[in-house]
């Protein structure tokens, strides 16, 4: 029962982070900031959803389910490892290809309000 509650909370929080990441991909101004949303918003959300599923497996405790939870844990570790690496590779490729880094112009606010 308690495990069920933990599982539901983790999965729902993970989905909230997923939504934040998806909204960020659409709204952020340039390639680099979008990579922040795409590459890393997902790390936490995938982590939470997978840990939630592992906890769900453990609610009916036996050896087979424990092994499944262990496999899910391995997937989590792999994602925590692979996600920053691929994000870094994409960003570095973008910089070498010559994508401009969008920076906020300090003057725009004063120009808008004369």
């Amino acid at each position: 029962m308690i495990l069920n509650v933990i599982c539901i909370v983790l999965v729902v929080l993970g989905i909230v982070f997923f939504v934040g990441g998806a909204v960020g991909i659409v709204r952020f101004p340039d390639f680099y900031t979008r990579m922040h949303a795409a590459g890393k918003g997902d790390t936490m959300s995938v982590f939470m959803v997978l840990i939630g599923l592992a906890v769900y497996q453990l609610s009916d405790f036996n050896l087979a389910n424990l092994l499944i939870a262990g496999k899910i844990f391995f997937i989590t570790i792999f994602i925590m490892w692979a996600s920053p690496t691929s994000t870094h590779a994409l960003i570095k490729a973008g910089l070498e290809e010559g994508q401009e880094v969008w920076t906020r112009k300090e003057k725009t606010d004063t120009e808008d309000t004369p």
């Binding site: 934040g20 909204v23 709204r27 952020f28 101004p29 391995f74 920053p84 994000t87 870094h88 920076t103």
Partner: protein, 164 residues
């Protein structure tokens, strides 16, 4: 010695992945694990200059760092979530490139720091040049977060204690 470590590690992974405990599957696991160990043991733990005791101490200290790391990831994920959902033209989004110097010496510790920075949402390590890290940061908060050297000190206390 290191071959034994690799063998036990791989065999443990085999047991978790296969989930079968009869003699046939365990024997298959033993054979394939021994084969992989024989072929590729040279590639793992390439730096064997340090003693096993020091290694084990590093492994013991690592989980505390990972727990702290997880908390940091949660905090900055909330920050990114707030940024993504903030109204208007998102005034808090102020991306810039940051260069920080690191005092870490070994390649592994530098890699660990770079990966930790990338894993923390809002900052991505683009490149490591010598002892300088080139980092893309999304807002003021994450910039000050990465310029603070708390993370670096923690990594140094795990991997480079007593090396100086």
């Amino acid at each position: 010695m290191h071959r034994l470590c690799i063998f036990l590690l791989l065999f443990g992974i085999w047991i978790i992945f296969s989930g079968q405990f009869d003699a046939f599957h365990l024997a298959l696991g033993l054979i394939s694990t021994a084969l992989v160990t024989a072929i590729s043991s040279e590639f793992f733990f390439a730096d064997r200059s340090r003693e096993a005791g020091a290694r084990i101490q590093e492994i013991i200290r690592l989980p505390w760092y990972l727990a702290w790391m997880l908390y940091q990831i949660l905090l900055s994920n909330l920050h990114i979530l707030k940024l993504a959902l903030s109204p208007g033209d998102m005034p808090e989004v102020q991306p810039r490139l940051v260069r920080i110097k690191t005092g870490l010496k070994t390649d592994f510790a530098k890699w660990f720091l770079a990966n930790s920075i990338t894993l923390t949402p809002g900052t991505i390590t683009i490149d490591i040049e010598g002892d300088e890290l080139l980092i893309h940061s999304i807002s003021e908060v994450t910039t000050t977060g990465v310029e603070d050297d708390a993370m670096e000190r923690k990594i140094a206390s795990i991997f480079e204690r007593g090396n100086d």
